[in-house]
């Protein structure tokens, strides 16, 4: 069976990249389905994307309130069962606040909102999210956030590094992230978060199509999963 795998894009109040993510996934061969955050269950999907935006106005701390959305409970169960989950920007912040990914995202050291293409290095090309990348490949993908500075204490950081959980690094200092970390995976390898926006880099017309490598890797993983389940 080679049908387009269904991928949920969870929509929170304040999400603003949900449709961009859905469009990009569709362009890369998936069948995206938008899921409102109040849904207590996910539809039958093979992967989940938590999109960028400012869920709940980023009140308190970014992602801190969205993690209590009913849909997040369903996403946590999906992840625990091995389902691929990708959090982009605000989605990454939510996954950290929910404890599905280690560390936390803090205001950029410059305190400014950073919106530009950034160079990235693929540190781990053996994840399901980077399967289409080469080890140490240089990617160009835009960031657009005020709170993209990832933090973990030295012990946690060393542990993640030793286990290959650091997946993407900025190739130049961008926002003060510990170790210039731009993207990480969880220990099991099926939950990833990244601050850059791959969905905004899937067509050369927009300056770079490097984001397609990450999203198409996710679509591949979703396709494998639907084939395995059927």
């Amino acid at each position: 069976m080679n049908e387009a795998p269904r991928i949920a894009v969870v929509v929170f109040p304040g999400s603003n990249d949900d449709r961009d993510a859905a469009w990009a996934l569709g362009a890369l061969g998936a069948d995206p389905v938008l899921v409102w955050h109040a849904e207590p269950e996910l539809p039958d999907v093979a992967a989940v994307v938590l999109p960028g935006g400012f869920s709940y106005g980023d009140y308190l701390r970014c992602g801190a309130i969205a993690r209590f959305s009913p849909a997040l409970g369903a996403v946590a169960r999906f992840a625990a069962a091995g389902g691929p989950v990708l959090g982009i920007c605000n989605g990454f912040q939510i996954l950290c606040e929910a404890g599905l990914l280690p560390g936390v995202l803090r205001p950029n050291v410059s305190l400014s909102f950073i919106c530009r293409d950034v160079p990235l290095t693929v540190e781990n090309a053996a994840t399901i999210f980077t399967a289409r990348c080469e080890p140490e490949q240089r990617l160009t993908i835009p960031v657009k956030n005020g709170e993209g500075c990832w933090f973990a204490d030295p012990a946690l950081y060393a542990e993640l590094e030793a286990r290959g959980q650091i997946v993407l690094r900025y190739a130049e200092p961008v926002n003060g992230s510990i170790g210039d970390v731009a993207g990480i995976v969880d220990r099991a390898g099926n939950v990833m978060g990244l601050m850059p926006h791959p969905e905004h880099a899937v067509d050369p017309l927009l300056g770079s199509a490097d984001g397609a490598l990450i999203l198409a890797s996710l679509v591949d993983a979703a396709r494998d999963r639907s084939a395995a389940v059927v």
Binding site: L60, R61, A64, I65, F68, E97, G103, V104, R106, P107, N108, V109, S110, L111, F151, A152, D153, G176
Partner: protein, 80 residues
């Protein structure tokens, strides 16, 4: 009871907001050391027993109001 929760960036955690405030205050001519910026949450708690109220606010802090990786908190209670 009334509860006041003071949430602060943990010691040693870089606080760019505090640094910006610090610089602005120096710019205004104030002679200051370090400035740190946290947040205050004022709460009305249904519990009337101080120990119960504190236990409840502790749970609020650990579940939502503070992120233990980067923030510490203090709870102050007073009768409503």
């Amino acid at each position: 009871m009334r509860a006041t929760v003071l949430v602060r960036p943990k010691e040693g955690i870089l606080d760019p907001q505090g640094q910006a405030v610090e610089e602005a205050l120096r710019h205004l001519g104030f002679h200051i050391g370090q400035a740190r910026v946290g947040r205050v949450v004022d709460l009305e708690v249904a519990a009337t027993d101080p120990a119960d109220a504190r236990a409840e606010v502790e749970r609020m802090c650990s579940q939502l109001l503070a992120n233990p990786l980067i923030e510490s908190y203090e709870i102050e209670l007073e009768p409503a």
